[in-house]
Structures are given as structure tokens and as C-alpha cells.
Amino acid sequence: MSPGPCESPMRPQPYVVRGVRRETHDVFTLELEPAGDAAPLAFGPGQFTMLYAFGMGEVPISISGDPAGNTMLVHTIRAVGTVTRALERCRKGDVLGVRGPFGTCWPVDEAAGKDVVLAAGGIGLAPLRSVMYRLLARRERYGRIALLYGTRTPEDIVYRDELEEWRGRLDLNVQVTVDRAGSDWRGNVGAVTTLLPRAEFDPANTVAMFCGPEVMMRFTMLALMKRGLQAEQMYLSMERNMKCGIGLCGHCQLGPFFICKDGPVFPYDRVKWLFGREEI
């Protein structure tokens, strides 16, 4: 499922910015193409790259594009620090460095023949979008698909056009909620867990995947366990400060795991003993 190891893992390959799209006031999407005649990056949904603004630094960013051999490498990024703000200033034609892809993948193939529940919080929708592309490319392989997405306010909704398109499909259950909204919002308000009662699935035959703040993932898991899911049916993507991306530098250590290499996607039963201990 996951492509083989990255060949020159410490060498940023030059990529040219081909597209910049504003998602929200602080989130943007970059479309990147390898410079020269280098081949497009093969990746599995859930993997990330180390995205490098030359002279500024690197950040781990999950890949949010279509894994099916699209020539563009797509990253959706929230501008919060020095490097992501530098990335936000990128325009078409600028050159960035890319290392990767790194890390583990979502169990998209393992989910074949099963119902799928995806729960995303905020920018956590980015790596799950790659999962959606993969599921939709082979829609007939899966049972019911629910995508539950929560974000801060209606203005913070990313991929709005796509969400609306998916929401219009009869073979998908797409639900969106926000933490707070003005009086002009007609949608749901509340945590992602408030959407769960509307998701239908067979607890015995479901795979669930989460990406978002740890507290959101914890409560989603607890709620799904009440609905009958077992720990081994649930997968989550973890996040930590990263430097090397290849399991050497120690920055992303979470207990015995290096998130960059043993993760970022973990089966919940592998990490449940340390989950919720935010200080690890």
C-alpha cells in the first residue's frame, strides 16, 4: 500500500508551485509539480512530506491530494508559524523543497467490503481527503461511507466546494459541524461527536479513521466504542514536532514510537495505552 522507502530521504527535491488556493483566512492549498522532468511523487493516503521553504525551514505537511497518480502534489496548510507563513507567501512559479513521502498510510485497502467512518477536526480533514479520493475511485468496494467534519466556525470550513459536492451524493453521508457560528449559519453546531448519531454503520464491520486535535479524537473514539466498535477497528493520525522525518532525530518521539516513521497513522490499539496523556 505504502510506496517503498524514499530514495534520498534527507535531500529536498525542488518542486515548482503551480497553484495557490485560499481555503480560509489562514488556510491555503498549494499544488506542486516536480521541477525538471522528475516523476510525480507516488504516495499513500495518510503520508506526509517535509515541505521546505529554502532558508526558512521545513514543516511536516500531510498530502491531501489524489493518490491515483495525479501529477500535482497537493498540500493544505494552516499558516501558524514562521515556515508556514513563508509558504503562505508563495506564488505560482516559486520553488520549494520536498522530502518524502514519509510515514504510514490509512488502511484504505483493509477497509474494502466494510463500512467506513471518517472523522476530521479542522485541518485534520486534509489527510482524510486523500482517503476520500481513494474510496470514491473504487466506491463499489465499500459499504456505507460517512465523513464527519468539525471545525471552528463556518468561515473555517476547508474544501467547501468539494464537501458540498460530496454532500449531494446519495452514496455518501457527509456531515459538517462548527464549534460556534453567527445567526446566518443553518448547519450544525457542536463537537464532531454530535454528528455520530446520524452516521449509520455496522459496528461489527466498520473501519473508522480520525484526524484532528487529540481531544477530538479521544471523544470520537469513546463515542464509537459505545456504538460497539473495537479498538482494532479504529485508526488515527498523530502529530508532533518533526525534524528529520525518518525516525532518527528524536523530536517526534511518543513513548517508544517515532511518529514520523511508526506513524503518523496508528491503529488505536497500538497507542491506546498512551493516548490522552498529552504530555508524552
Partner: protein, 334 residues
């Protein structure tokens, strides 16, 4: 017959190796310190002191450039540093606590991806170990399963003889080759008696018992007790032969510059800091706990080894007097 080498010939061996173009690294006076540094001649070798920093920097330098880049008309040119250019190296007079460290670090620097810089230096380095005949109060190699006469980790091993000079033992094939190649400098040990090895004090630690306690005590008042003193200075990590964490940083501008890899320490407040301001290990007790857990539990969970050789450097250097051996003794007694 066992071999021996006089101190004079050991220094002559260094001269010869340097002349032949090898990089020879050994304890050397460096300002007020003794450090493992490149030797220009055998006479620079210091045999009386444990160097301030460990020998790991011969494989894993404090700071090194890993690539450079320059923006030009045709995009960005990324220039690699070719590890093939690293010189053949002989590490001389390495204490057993330092010689043991690469064998521990090999696990993390090759468990999945190889650290090419480390691996290339490791491959090209021969280690001439030296037994310790004296220890200080901070030494505790015997407590973690090593000893002042431990040959593992060395390619060639020297034991001081009572009448001067050293008994020589080839531990690996690399060592055999050194012995054969420079046979003119080695003599027969005859009946010369080795000096007795040093006897570091301190109770032996039951590392399996300590690990079992760590497995069960992620939450314990102990962490706060230690952290109430910890200054988060990182000296322990910088002196440790087995700490492997590093940072990658950029020196230069958008147009031109270098990426550098440099030692880092999980005791630093910003080690885990996210750009968003969220810091998963946001207090010193959590950081100290991670240091101890990494050394005696996590690394063991992952690689079946512990990240400590008992060199005692962290104990000697700690500005607030945190003694890792005392902490381990306390855990050992629980």
C-alpha cells in the same frame, strides 16, 4: 602469544597513521578541556583523562552541514555533501564507556532509514580502546553491565601494563588488520602484568527491574522531585555518548545557504514545541521523564538496548547536581 605496545610506539603508530593520510582522533588538550579531537602527531595524545565530551562526535559531529543550496536562473540547485569523501579514521585511546556507544547508536541510525553520515563514518572508523585503571565517584559503567576492561565495541583493545606500555588484544577483524599492518610497532607481551582495572563504586543496577518500574510509573511524584531542580540546560545530553537527538536548521537566505544538523536535547523547553504554540512536553518534569524513559524504557522497547554506558559525564557536569545513578538507584530500590 599476546602482543604489547610501548607508549612510545603507540605515539609512533599515530604519527604513522597521520602520515599515511588517516584521520586520527584521540584525547587531546583543547583549551581547559581534554576532548576527542583530530591529532596532528602522537605526542598530542593525552592518556590521563576521560575527555569532557564523548567520542560519539567522531561519528555524529556536534554540528555539520548536510547540504547546500543556491537559487539561480534555472531554479534551485541542491548540492549534496558526499559521505564518500569522509576520511578513514582511527579513534585512539577510547575508554570502554565511549567505545560501547556506537554499538548502541547503530540501532537507531539504521533501524529503518540509514543515517548515511553516521554509517559512512562508522564503516570507515577503527576503534582502539583503552582499559581504565582508575575511576572517579561519578563513574558507574559496571552498574549498567559494562566494565573498565570491557573490550566489546573496540576493534583493538589496550590494557596498561604495570611496567609501562599496553597489552594489545585484537577484538575484531579490523583490529587484526591494524595489528598485522603495523606489526613492527608491536612486541610480545611476555610475562608483563596488566594493571588491575579500575573499580567504579556504586551498586549494580537491575535494568530489567528498572524498566518494569518505568513501564508502570509514567505518573510518579519522582519526576516532579527531580524536575524541581532541573535547569533544562541540556548539558547531560550534549555530554552523553548515547544521546542521539538532533536538530536540522538553516543557515542562509532564500537565495543561498546550508542545512545543518546539530545536537539537540529533549530537556530543552522548545524540543517538542509546535509552531501553533502547543507544546506536548510543556513542563520540565515531563522532559526529564522523557529523558529517563527514552534511555531505559523506550529504547529498550524498540531496540532491546539502553542508552547509557555509565560514563558519568552527566553526573559530573550537572549544574544542579542531578545524579542519574542516584535516580536509578532509587528506582532500583522501589
Amino acid at each position: 602469544m599476546p602482543k604489547m605496545i610501548t607508549e612510545q610506539n603507540l605515539r609512533a603508530l599515530i604519527d604513522l597513521l597521520v602520515k599515511e593520510g588517516s584521520r586520527v582522533v584521540g584525547p587531546k588538550a583543547a583549551g581547559t578541556m581534554t576532548l576527542y579531537e583530530p591529532l596532528a602527531a602522537g605526542e598530542e595524545l593525552v592518556l590521563t583523562e576521560l575527555p569532557r565530551r564523548s567520542a560519539k562526535e567522531a561519528f555524529f559531529p556536534l554540528c555539520e552541514t548536510i547540504l547546500t543550496y543556491a537559487k539561480g536562473e534555472e531554479g534551485v540547485q541542491v548540492n549534496d555533501i558526499d559521505p564518500a569523501r569522509f576520511p578513514e579514521t582511527v579513534l585512539v585511546a577510547v575508554r570502554p564507556c565511549d567505545a560501547a556507544a556506537p554499538g548502541i547508536l547503530d540501532a537507531v541510525f539504521s533501524w529503518d532509514y540509514d543515517d548515511q553520515f553516521y554509517q559512512e563514518r562508522r564503516k570507515k572508523t577503527a576503534i582502539i580502546g583503552l582499559a581504565c585503571t582508575k575511576a572517579d565517584d561519578a563513574c558507574f559503567c559496571t552498574a549498567v553491565g559494562l566494565s573498565p576492561a570491557e573490550t566489546q565495541g573496540s576493534d583493538l583493545f589496550l590494557t596498561p601494563l604495570s611496567g609501562g606500555g599496553f597489552r594489545v588484544e585484537a577484538v575484531t577483524e579490523k583490529g587484526e588488520k591494524l595489528l598485522a599492518r603495523y606489526s613492527q610497532l608491536f612486541g610480545e607481551a611476555g610475562s608483563a602484568q596488566p594493571l588491575p582495572p579500575a573499580e567504579p563504586g556504586g551498586e549494580k543496577l537491575e535494568l530489567a527491574r528498572i524498566k518494569a518500574w518505568l513501564d508502570a510509573n509514567f505518573e510518579s511524584p519522582l519526576w516532579q522531585e527531580i524536575a524541581d531542580r532541573c535547569a533544562g540546560c541540556g548539558a547531560c545530553a550534549f555530554l552523553c555518548p548515547a544521546c542521539h537527538c538532533f536538530d536540522i536548521n538553516d543557515e542562509g537566505t532564500e537565495a543561498k545557504g546550508a542545512r545543518r544538523k546539530s545536537w539537540d536535547a529533549c530537556g530543552f523547553a522548545k524540543f517538542t514545541n509546535h509552531a501553533s504554540g502547543h507544546n506536548p512536553r510543556d513542563a520540565q518534569n515531563k522532559r526529564y521523564r522523557n529523558r529517563l524513559m527514552h534511555k531505559f524504557k523506550y529504547y529498550d522497547d524498540k531496540f532491546g538496548k539502553h542508552l547509557c554506558t555509565g560514563c558519568g559525564r552527566c553526573v559530573r557536569a550537572c549544574p544542579v547536581g542531578i545524579d542519574i545513578k542516584a535516580v536509578l538507584d532509587e528506582i532500583n530500590s522501589k
